[in-house]
C-alpha cells in the first residue's frame, strides 16, 4: 500500500475511540493525530455521529450525557479537517448511506477508509459484483478495520 497521507474514519471508529482509551480505534486516532496523516471528516459524518450519540437508546444504555458528547465533538472538530462539499460519485445499493464515506475519500484523495461497518467492509470482497466494481473503480482506496489500519500506520512510522 502507498503512504497513507489522507484518511477517513467511519463514525463507528470515532465512537469506539471515545469509549475505549486502550482499544485499537483510540490508538489509531492517536497515531493519526501525532503523525503526518491528515484526518478528513464531513458535516454528514458528524451529523450521523451526533444523531447516534444523542439517541435515547445509546444514551440510556451507556449513561452518555450531553457534556461528554460535546467534548467528544469538540475534540473531533479540533483535529479533523472538515469537508463541506462532497461530490456524489459512488452508488452503494446495499447501504446507500455508506456511499458517502467513499465519496468523501475520493474527494480528498484519501487512500484509506477505516470502518467497523460490515456493509462497507464487504466492498473488499472481490468475489461479489459490488466488490469487483469498487476495486476496479478505486484501486488506490483501501477499507480496513481499526486494527488493520493501525498495523499499516505503525509500519509507516
Amino acid at each position: 500500500m502507498n503512504v497513507i497521507d489522507h484518511i477517513v474514519f467511519d463514525c463507528n471508529v470515532y465512537f469506539q475511540a471515545a469509549i475505549s482509551p486502550s482499544g485499537p480505534a483510540r490508538r489509531l486516532l492517536q497515531v493519526v493525530l501525532d503523525g503526518p496523516t491528515v484526518l478528513f471528516a464531513s458535516e454528514y459524518i458528524l451529523a450521523e455521529l451526533a444523531s447516534l450519540t444523542s439517541d435515547a437508546r445509546i444514551q440510556t444504555k451507556y449513561h452518555l450525557t450531553t457534556e461528554e458528547v460535546d467534548e467528544f465533538f469538540s475534540l473531533i472538530r479540533r483535529h479533523a479537517t472538515l469537508v463541506t462539499d462532497v461530490p456524489h460519485v459512488f452508488e452503494f445499493p446495499r447501504d446507500p448511506d455508506d456511499a458517502h464515506y467513499v465519496d468523501l475519500a475520493v474527494s480528498v484523495n484519501a487512500k484509506l477508509i477505516v470502518s467497523r461497518d460490515k456493509d462497507l467492509l464487504s466492498l473488499r470482497d472481490d468475489t461479489t459484483p459490488e466488490g469487483q466494481d469498487f476495486i476496479r473503480r478505486f484501486p488506490q482506496l483501501a477499507i480496513l478495520t481499526p486494527p488493520e489500519a493501525l498495523a499499516i500506520l505503525d509500519a509507516q512510522e
Binding site: 465512537f15 469509549i19 493525530l33 447516534l52 449513561h63 450525557t65 467534548e71 475534540l75 447501504d95
Partner: protein, 111 residues
C-alpha cells in the same frame, strides 16, 4: 479539569514572563509569553473564571494529551459498560445496530 495548585507557579510579571514549575520531579521551564498572547491568556482566564496558570497548563495538556478531558468525562460511561458486562466490541455492535435502524427509519420516512 482540576489542576493541583502546587504544580504551577507564575512569576509576578506574568503578562510578559511565565515560569512553570511542573513538579520538582518532572519539569521546570521558563517561558516568555509575548503580546498579544499574554493578553489573550489573561482574557481567557478572566472569561473562564480560571487563573492564567490554569489556562496555560490546560492549553499544554490539550496539545499533548488530546483525550485527557474526554477520558475524564467518559469514566462513568466506561464504568457503565463494565457493569453491563460488555466489551468494547459489544458496544460498537450496539452502536452499529442503532445506526442501521436509524438509517432504515430515515429511508422509510423518505428523508
Amino acid at each position: 479539569m482540576s489542576i493541583p495548585r502546587h504544580r504551577v507557579k507564575l512569576d509576578a510579571g506574568f503578562l510578559r514572563v511565565v515560569s512553570l514549575k511542573i513538579g520538582a520531579h518532572t519539569m521546570s521551564i521558563h517561558v516568555e509569553i509575548p503580546e498579544p498572547l499574554a493578553g489573550q491568556v489573561t482574557q481567557a482566564a478572566k472569561t473562564q473564571g480560571k487563573t492564567p496558570e490554569d489556562v496555560v497548563l490546560e492549553t499544554i495538556q490539550t496539545r499533548f494529551n488530546a483525550f485527557a478531558r474526554l477520558d475524564e468525562l467518559m469514566a462513568p460511561v466506561r464504568q457503565r459498560i463494565a457493569e453491563l458486562g460488555e466489551t468494547e466490541e459489544d458496544v460498537v455492535e450496539f452502536f452499529e445496530k442503532v445506526k442501521h435502524e436509524k438509517r432504515q427509519e430515515r429511508r422509510m420516512a423518505g428523508k
